[in-house]
């Protein structure tokens, strides 16, 4: 291997300062590292939830309406918000800041819709009697096993913690995007792209929360229907 070929293969100059070894700016790299650490936060919460679920009798109380219908529409809102955000970033990369702003505003709309729908869905469950550390009385009756082991009261704790932290991320993202939309003409393209990274990450987390929290807790047999 000639010296020149070696230099091609091991571009040591990348790591000697004055270059961007990953070909991304330091802010974008920072956002990626934040996303990695936040992924671990959500992974730990979801695995903690799975731990509790595997070591307890677990209720499966969610009816088709309102819970699953609301959660499905919310999923659709988040997926669509990701699409509008991609269009916004794409417009920004072509220098069309006005168009980028419109798409980011559409993203904010879908994000806000998600939060509102989720709060309505929380309200249904709270009215039903669900709390972080105990279950509604009729859920306990229905889901107690034939051996007399009651369902875990921690159902509410895991539900409110995980969906609550996710909702906090969505709400934070809406504020972040509002700032980006307001200042989009002053911002560099990469900064718009970074806000997009955060937004898609919030969408990505929901892709795990939705099946694990909602789909896995469907009242398939309609056990609660008569109560």
């Amino acid at each position: 291997m000639s010296t020149e070929a070696r230099a091609d293969f091991f571009p040591s100059a990348d790591w000697e300062g004055g270059a961007l070894p990953y070909r991304v700016g330091h802010r974008k790299l920072g956002m990626w590292l934040f996303i990695v650490s936040d992924s671990l936060t959500f992974s730990a919460l979801l695995i903690g939830y799975s731990y509790l679920r595997a070591s307890n009798v677990w209720p499966t109380p969610f009816p088709f309406y309102p819970s699953i219908v609301f959660a499905s529409v919310m999923t659709f809102c988040l997926l669509s918000s990701s699409l509008t955000m991609v269009f916004g970033v794409s417009a920004s990369s072509k220098g069309d800041k006005a168009k980028a702003r419109k798409w980011i505003l559409a993203t904010i709309f879908f994000g806000a819709a998600f939060v509102v729908l989720h709060l309505i869905e929380w309200n249904h469950l709270i009215h039903e009697g669900m709390r972080p550390f105990f279950l509604p009385e009729h859920w306990v009756q229905v889901f107690t096993t034939t051996d007399g082991v009651p369902p875990s009261p921690l159902f509410g704790a895991t539900f409110f913690t995980i969906t609550g932290l996710h909702m906090f991320h969505v709400a934070t993202g809406v504020i972040y995007l509002a700032v980006v939309a307001a200042r989009v003409k002053k911002l560099k393209h990469e900064d718009v792209e970074i806000s997009g990274l955060y937004w898609h990450f919030v969408d990505l987390v929901w892709m795990f929360v939705f099946p694990l929290i909602y789909i896995m807790s469907v009242d398939v047999g309609g056990h609660l229907a008569g109560h």
Binding site: W32, I47, L79, S80, E193, F208, V218, V220
Partner: protein, 120 residues
Amino acid sequence: MNAHAHADEHFAGSNKLFISIWVWLVVLTLLEIFLAYKPMSIHIMLTILIGLSVIKAALIVAYFMHLKFERLSLILTIVPMLVVCILLLFVFFPDSYRSIGLRYQFKEPKPVAPASVEEL
């Protein structure tokens, strides 16, 4: 050189590509909702749902978050260590299966799905 700099700045991927990714994500979500009402054992259901979620997450990261079009060194810095760390958290599961046996004496096996599921 100028053209090259422009290519770097350009956000790769057409709107058509992004719409098709969005369609895939919606279709996979509908599949998940459909599966929720199919009677099957919780372990098979969990495996399918996690599989679908990983596919959806990969589509979002690769195309929406643009990672597919980034430098390989960035991908290798971010992805493998995250996967390893998440898999390491699975070390807790044997304990969760042990602890339910310590606390409760089940005469029949622990119900893993509502009683109406016939195959159990």
